[in-house]
């Protein structure tokens, strides 16, 4: 970027500057030696063009909207349209959650994001023994199409985009969404939204798996195939680093393990006979926005560059859209403190800003009270206002990739790419992501980073304001949002009513067809659609698949 002669002059001047600083350190020492970010990358005192000597503007950065997309996936980014403001929400019953969605849309939110309770995420109906104590707790309880009809009542599905955090039973919830849309007169081809459908990170980080990896991957590719034909605007997967990071990984590990999972999905889809440019453009991603501001900005940029290269060079994608990392971001829940919870508003604002400077397509900002309970309406409102404030008040959205070209940010971007590639290579050598997870490699890496992070906090090597410094005596806020245990009773009543009203013959026949498809090679989506329309419950559909596929048991990473 700079002429060779100028660089040599700069090199000499930089050396002289370094020496003069070093000589003064005796008297004015720096706060730490060395400075290191969360990924273990040393942070230098100063970055200059010398650090970017080997960078090639066109091949490493390029222009926004074109390969390798380091600077962003759209040419105009937020000058055209802001990111989608999408608060993850859902609790208790479908009725209650429907009210919260309408509140959020009224407040200017631009997309929905559905949180399901754990029984739903693991494919149990609310009346299952394992569901005791969990119904409606961390999200909305869904047992059948009936609940989804209530959930989206009065919300026009041709006009909102909906993201659903659902993985093992993603096919079932997608089928229910399509069925509700049909009842509203909306065609599947008009639907926009995302299912998370990222099963690999469930085994390594999030825990809501049902079936073993192999049949799970088959369901994933069945969904890819079905959607490319019938629901072309749908994001068929959200390959998620978020939970990997929440489980304790570093920024580099987040990028590496996420993209390694991405590679596994592409491999599986190719093996299932799909063309890379058929499903490639519908792959989407989900990242965490953590505390180390510049590391995070660089992480988002690095992920874009790496994935573009992987899709182009490794998989031979031709369609630029297959090479784009379009991603959702959520601020880091694990960085919120139960102590002095108002401070969390500030943490979230910085994290959200890093996501915006990193070029996110959609964003969830956490609420200040989430280390204590489910967010209250007021806390959610402040979180949403934080995004609106970044979008409208502080000017950061007026140019594309404002930190591009910053010596530090570019060098960090390079470093993250390099280190993440190292991990991906290692995972390739183990036989890919599924094998690395089977061996416990990914889990142990994450576990070890989490423990290191905790020890840093306990030794005060890492300051957490309000927790290990600047503490105050305080009373914990009362009046927390709680889920009424009556939700379970309500769900049980609804289930009983449903089972007495529906045609049991139709349910049995559709489940038998699903079983046949699962045993054979036919796509499972069409029979799941039929079962859902016949009001078979989520639990019945998942049980049918359990019979064929079996259940996964977590491996022990301590032995």
């Amino acid at each position: 970027m700079i002429k060779e002669d100028d660089l040599r002059v700069l090199e000499e001047k930089a050396k002289a500057w370094d020496q003069s600083v070093e000589s003064k350190l005796q008297r004015n020492p720096e706060r730490k030696t060395p400075f290191v970010n969360t990924s273990g990358i040393p942070v230098q005192r100063l970055y200059t063009p010398l650090d970017l000597e080997n960078m090639d503007y066109l091949s490493d950065l390029g222009f926004p909207g074109s390969y390798p997309f380091t600077r962003g996936v759209q040419p105009t980014m937020y000058r055209g349209r802001h990111w989608t403001m999408r608060q993850y929400a859902g609790f208790a019953s479908a009725e209650e959650s429907n009210r919260r969605y309408k509140f959020l849309l009224d407040q200017g939110q631009t997309g929905l994001s559905v949180a399901f309770d754990l029984p739903t995420q693991i494919g149990y109906d609310s009346d299952h023994e394992m569901a005791m104590g969990e119904v409606g707790k961390v999200g909305v309880a869904i047992d059948s199409l009936k609940d989804v009809e209530i959930l989206f009542d009065g919300i026009p599905l041709d006009r909102v985009s909906t993201s659903m955090t659902i993985n093992a039973p993603a096919a079932v919830l997608l089928a229910m969404y399509i069925a509700v849309a049909e009842k509203q007169g909306v065609q599947p081809a008009q639907l926009r939204g995302t299912i998370q459908n990222d099963i690999l990170k469930e085994y390594s980080s999030r825990g809501t798996f049902i079936f073993p990896p192999q049949p799970s991957m088959r369901i994933v590719t069945d969904i890819f195939a079905f959607c490319s034909e019938h629901v072309p605007q749908w994001n068929t997967i959200s390959i998620s680093g978020y939970h990997i990071r929440e489980a304790g990984s570093t920024a580099v590990q987040e990028v590496a393990f996420t993209l390694a999972n991405g590679i596994a999905y592409v491999d599986a889809a190719l093996q299932a006979g799909l063309g890379v440019d058929t499903f490639g453009p519908r792959l989407s991603f989900f990242f965490n926005a953590h505390l180390d501001f510049f590391e995070e900005v660089a992480k988002f940029r690095a992920a874009r560059r790496l994935w573009a290269k992987i899709m182009k060079e490794r998989f031979g994608a031709k369609d630029p859209r297959s090479m784009m990392v379009r991603f959702h971001t959520q601020t880091a829940g694990c960085t919120l403190t139960a102590q002095q919870p108002l401070n969390n508003i500030v943490r979230v604002a910085f994290q959200a800003l890093s996501a915006v400077l990193g070029g996110t397509q959609s964003l969830h900002t956490n609420s200040m009270d989430e280390a204590l309970c489910l967010p209250s309406e007021q806390a959610v409102q402040v979180a949403l206002r934080t995004q609106q404030l970044i979008a409208h008040e502080i000017g950061v959205t007026d140019t594309v990739d404002p930190l591009g070209g910053a010596y530090f940010v570019e060098e960090l971007t390079n470093q993250i790419c390099e280190r993440a590639e190292g991990y991906i290579l290692k995972i390739d050598e183990m036989g890919g992501s599924a094998a690395a997870i089977e061996k416990g490699f990914v889990q142990k890496e994450i576990q070890s980073s989490a423990y290191t992070y905790q020890k840093q906090i306990e030794k005060n090597d890492r300051i957490v304001v309000g927790l290990n410094r600047f503490q105050v005596e305080e009373e914990r806020p009362g009046n927390l949002l709680r889920v009424d245990p009556a939700v379970r009773i309500l769900q049980l009543e609804k289930l009983k009513k449903l089972k007495s009203e529906r045609s049991q013959d139709q349910v049995n026949q559709s489940l038998a067809r699903l079983k046949l498809a699962a045993q054979g090679a036919d796509n499972v989506m069409p029979p799941i659609m039929d079962a859902v329309r016949a009001y078979a419950t989520l639990g019945e559909i998942c049980d049918t698949l359990r019979e064929v596929f079996g259940e996964y048991r977590q491996i022990d990473t301590f032995r």
Binding site: L118, A247, T337, A450, R476
Partner: protein, 133 residues
């Protein structure tokens, strides 16, 4: 008080909650402090937790729940322990547990509850001071 033998701890995740960062960090810290830790893995029923505790002959059960199901699952574990007439196992809990829920959990026999931000050394010390055998 414990003499000679290492303190044995069952680190357990009852219910459907998949958040295991906290319990794994605690398990690592307890091991570093010289205790033996058996980790149940995710998705244990209260009955499985109690059976594992008896089978492994542990001194301590450390329960972790972040999903809000502690109000049902913690007391259920205690009820099953009482059913088996087990009185000498120290049971502690952790996770996202509202302060206002703690008195009820203690009343049913959970010795202490550790929330977010707790230092692991505090948990180590608590176990050493309160282990019943």
């Amino acid at each position: 008080m414990n003499t000679g033998r290492k303190i044995r701890v069952l680190a357990a995740k009852p219910g459907l909650d998949g958040h295991d960062r906290g319990i794994k960090v605690v398990a690592n810290a307890l091991m570093d402090a010289g205790m033996e830790v058996i980790y149940t893995g995710l998705r244990q029923t209260p009955r499985q937790v109690v059976e594992a505790a008896l089978q492994e002959d542990v001194d301590v059960i450390a329960l972790s729940i972040l999903s809000g199901a502690h109000d049902y699952l913690f007391p259920k574990v205690m009820e099953l322990l009482k059913e088996k007439k087990v009185e000498d196992i120290l049971v502690i809990g952790g996770g996202i547990i509202p302060d206002e829920d703690i008195p009820a959990l203690k009343a049913c026999g959970i010795a202490n509850v550790f929330g977010p931000g707790t230092r692991t050394e505090e948990i180590v010390r608590y176990i050493r001071d309160h282990v019943k055998r």
